[in-house]
Assembly symmetry: D2
Homo-oligomer: 366 residues x 4
Amino acid sequence: MAGSVFGTNLTISTWGESHGAGVGVVIDGVPAGIPLLSEDIQKFLDRRRPGQSAFTTPRKESDMVEILSGVYEGLTTGCPVSMMIRNADQHSKDYGALEHVYRPGHADYTYAMKYGIRDHRGGGRSSGRETIGRVSAGALCWKALNYMGIFAQTFTRSVADVEISEFKPDEISRNPLYMPDQKAAEKASKLIKEAMKEGDSLGGVVECRISGVPAGIGEPAFQKLDALLAQAMLSIGAAKGFEMGDGFLASRLKGSENNDSFRMENENVVKTTNHSGGVLGGISDGSEVCFKVAFKPTPSISKPQETVTDAGEDTTITIAGRHDPIIVPRAVVVVESMAGIVLLDLMCRGAGSRLENLEKIYVSVD
Amino acid sequence: MAGSVFGTNLTISTWGESHGAGVGVVIDGVPAGIPLLSEDIQKFLDRRRPGQSAFTTPRKESDMVEILSGVYEGLTTGCPVSMMIRNADQHSKDYGALEHVYRPGHADYTYAMKYGIRDHRGGGRSSGRETIGRVSAGALCWKALNYMGIFAQTFTRSVADVEISEFKPDEISRNPLYMPDQKAAEKASKLIKEAMKEGDSLGGVVECRISGVPAGIGEPAFQKLDALLAQAMLSIGAAKGFEMGDGFLASRLKGSENNDSFRMENENVVKTTNHSGGVLGGISDGSEVCFKVAFKPTPSISKPQETVTDAGEDTTITIAGRHDPIIVPRAVVVVESMAGIVLLDLMCRGAGSRLENLEKIYVSVD
Amino acid sequence: MAGSVFGTNLTISTWGESHGAGVGVVIDGVPAGIPLLSEDIQKFLDRRRPGQSAFTTPRKESDMVEILSGVYEGLTTGCPVSMMIRNADQHSKDYGALEHVYRPGHADYTYAMKYGIRDHRGGGRSSGRETIGRVSAGALCWKALNYMGIFAQTFTRSVADVEISEFKPDEISRNPLYMPDQKAAEKASKLIKEAMKEGDSLGGVVECRISGVPAGIGEPAFQKLDALLAQAMLSIGAAKGFEMGDGFLASRLKGSENNDSFRMENENVVKTTNHSGGVLGGISDGSEVCFKVAFKPTPSISKPQETVTDAGEDTTITIAGRHDPIIVPRAVVVVESMAGIVLLDLMCRGAGSRLENLEKIYVSVD
Amino acid sequence: MAGSVFGTNLTISTWGESHGAGVGVVIDGVPAGIPLLSEDIQKFLDRRRPGQSAFTTPRKESDMVEILSGVYEGLTTGCPVSMMIRNADQHSKDYGALEHVYRPGHADYTYAMKYGIRDHRGGGRSSGRETIGRVSAGALCWKALNYMGIFAQTFTRSVADVEISEFKPDEISRNPLYMPDQKAAEKASKLIKEAMKEGDSLGGVVECRISGVPAGIGEPAFQKLDALLAQAMLSIGAAKGFEMGDGFLASRLKGSENNDSFRMENENVVKTTNHSGGVLGGISDGSEVCFKVAFKPTPSISKPQETVTDAGEDTTITIAGRHDPIIVPRAVVVVESMAGIVLLDLMCRGAGSRLENLEKIYVSVD
């Protein structure tokens, strides 16, 4: 399937550009019977909405979702759920100066090379607005997952060099950076403000922890739970790295340090530690599913940069317009959304992994 | 498609267990006209073969490939290429003791949970032997890529804490660890020998650099070049992390430091630096495609470990048998293979990305 | 991928129900550079619009398409093209009486069995309105195909027992039944009027002939040109049969009668006859691609019918409301649309079928 | 995915040419727990084996299957099942004369156009031997389906103009034509013998009836049960037509004649008639799933035929070698196999179609 389509049994198809009519998503293969209201989607969208703090672009994006299909009397019907968010507050003229210039760190040059044509306004398809469709789909998936006792905590782990040193879940929603450590959040805020003054930007790391995932989710070989999470995460615009569990740190440990021992606890198999991040051989092992995603600093900065024009001439640009000094806080909900999509898709598929499951569904009906 | 199948236009389907009849792969969608001999495959397989140094398992695996279809008079025909490698030297009894025990760090427990049944011998499907199919397919893809001027250098970047401090390509094949830095290789060798003495194991990081990739390869959104590389890499058994270009380091840089400037050089657009690792917006930008993969230490160690039986009882195991003290050197060619599969698949797909390309192929024929 | 998604390199995702907010489609993998205006889509939609003759439902569906993404300055950009058509003129109350009754010949019962829930209004997702997304996508594909010299003639071959006995292409658009034979059209019209009087309905056969298809389109084995056409056609609501070339008639011929001889004509290989319908081994052979699709009579009839309620009681229903006495004329453009989608998708994929094609696109650029 | 790969959750990948090392299939996504022995596969393969009657090619193909993976202690493990059948009795020289000539009715010309290269021996990939992989996979699927109470009766409905006039299931395996009507079989036998004498060939129609399919199988829109069956059937080499239920006949009926009434019977919803062939809206309705497939006469005939060489010259060929005078009897098991693959794949996928099914499998475990 084509590049803007994702998933096997649960298939999402996102569309839309920064400065077109709107953005949206079609989600097909949604299990029937999930309670769904616009508010469920809106709550997720609000988490990525700009203009909410000093650290996000002052662009006003109301981003009101409209559910166009697939829901009847408050429940999903099993038919495709189409959702659309109209674009508004477009300053296309802001981008006029960039029509013939390739912005460093952006996809301007590569889209031109691939397609021989590009919509330069606001990055077109490669804009961060593309994630709105993902978040809408993710909100829907998390409704179903929550229903089955699966919950996520997603947060900013670090901003530049400032890393959290404690994990207080309640703190996450109390600061605009979504950090579970108040002091780290304060330190990071200062750093961001300094970068803003310099016309510069920062990056950081998002972490996601998912509890309640039953053992047995994930398809061996190429569609391992961690492989699909890695694809999903690296598919987010500014993502540059992915770690499952301990990630790169694991490469520095010995086997005896890195292996997680099993033991019995209340008649359940549990792991004493969770270096693996909740997967073994690409299949969930019943412990918390944990991973991290590294995001580069926002490429749009107002400092002057060397670059070239599409006519092949060297030039210097200064990017005006309204940009996030850091992508990370708004990426938190995108990471969570993509994880939800991956998980629900794998659960739908795995439902047919044993002959006895098929019998349970099709034969015991009699 | 199911989990052991990978790719869109170029689709590979791997099969086989550690202690079954053999392992293999079917590659479909192979462009016609690629010169292919068994030797081309064998050369790749030999790079992952055990028993070649003190640092790999002394198991003898001759791993002779048989090309069963899709090649006629030395050229691929466009039809599926099936390749098989018979298993040999099987010590199934070595695993008898493990029939009812879940090995820490292995997929024993999760396969049992997912399928309700498992082939415990040597890890079954989750064994490292599963990568033989990948390497066979990768060898084929690299034949085509080389033909188009695309070449890879893949090597061990670090073993535990020992990281390379220089990059001498010629050195890579001169040491059994595939490190491009002789001194680092020596230091790492010592470390591995110590771990072996302790009955322990080590991990490390593999790096891959691909030159000659034209700008424009990669499909936006979910099938970005980096997203598919991430999936491909995390799908390798012991992989725990992935970095495109600077990866996690990018999250610590400022935008002005991380952005790669463009400039003209001999009428070509080039980048002054390559923090991005050769992609922008998920599409190749014409510079070197670079990424890193973190591998955990081999989970099979002879030190005693706490675990449980499939009857739900705590126990202790000591894994005998013949195991690699470190997976990394043998993973080098697996990483390169998966990269080749991803690249050729994306190139086949991208061939239809412009109406003018279709005209070039179908209409200009007249 | 899920059921409302179709295609490999060119992937369409349709959505929408009869009585929801609207219907639409997202088309991804569209080659960049196709000239596209709303009018191009509208022209196709108008061919399936009801209310245009005595033989279609008097429902007024204005069906104005809105192109929401993927087009910039009149050309496709290679990004997903999203199109939406708002529903209007909804008589949901017409369906109140049917809330708990399964209509014979409709999908009411099977949707209830599959999903445990259904949107009964107007057939919900299984309504004929679902084809609007297909037609919108088809219009786009035919723009590209026409550009490459590929053209379709699609028409009604028979209505009940009335079959055409001559083929005058100009006649097709002159009668509301889209028959290329004026006399047959008149005879068929009478038949339909009689059926309408009886509160009954009729079926028929649609034929499609496509000229200009270069030899070499279609993927062997499961994704043969004819196999994908068969899937595409049987996926249309009321379709019950498919014939490639001579179809069932071929099963009655001898090999010597059915084989199409080759001969040279102006240095081209041509076929003396075209029993095969333009494919050999599932790959286009350069002659006209011809196939037929059988459509059942409209299941919604006003004659009383025996059926059951969702509470498991026998009952009788009389379907009021506004229904087509025959689906065939409106299905003509749906058949043509699906054929265009299949063809363009296969052409995009086939672009990578030879190493020399890849070189043409990627290497000769230098 | 590429052309020789088929299926969504259950994915088969077939490979092999007529005169290469062998043919085979990899089936991935197989539910764990299906009892499977080589004999189960062999029984199916024997039904398509040549040399068993006067009406099949006297070529000896022993066609012994080897199961290479995915089965442990007699049960499928959920891992890919690879099966191989070595080629034997190859008369490659028989085809020397055809190296530069395009046989009418065969894929010689189209493969040459598509790939620029072809393996001319015995049709290479487009040979009937390609179906061995399909039949092996089908045998496996039917093991699981039978286990769930789903059974098929597949038979020859007509040979040229000779159609069955009664249906005696027991008769099917008693005559080499697999016809459920002894008299028709005798009449057809005579016809075939006459055709053989003339150096000519015949076609016919295969019918398949599947009982025990629960209501609710099939994915709306493009992956309807009938749409996937149509694709699967037209993907068989010589297939030219497909009918679901009454097929083309339905296009001649009135709505009141063609609609199947529902009524209650022992608290079950049943249909009074089954014109629809067991599907409504592309989803199984609980009644028998019935369809027909038309096969053209074998294209290989010994009568002289006009054709061209690959150098572009007119010529005449007489095809020697050993060929089936009719494909139909050997196609019976291929049709049944493909139907089983489609059904089991759809059942695996449909297992996730309701939130309550997911709960049944994942949540109730606790």
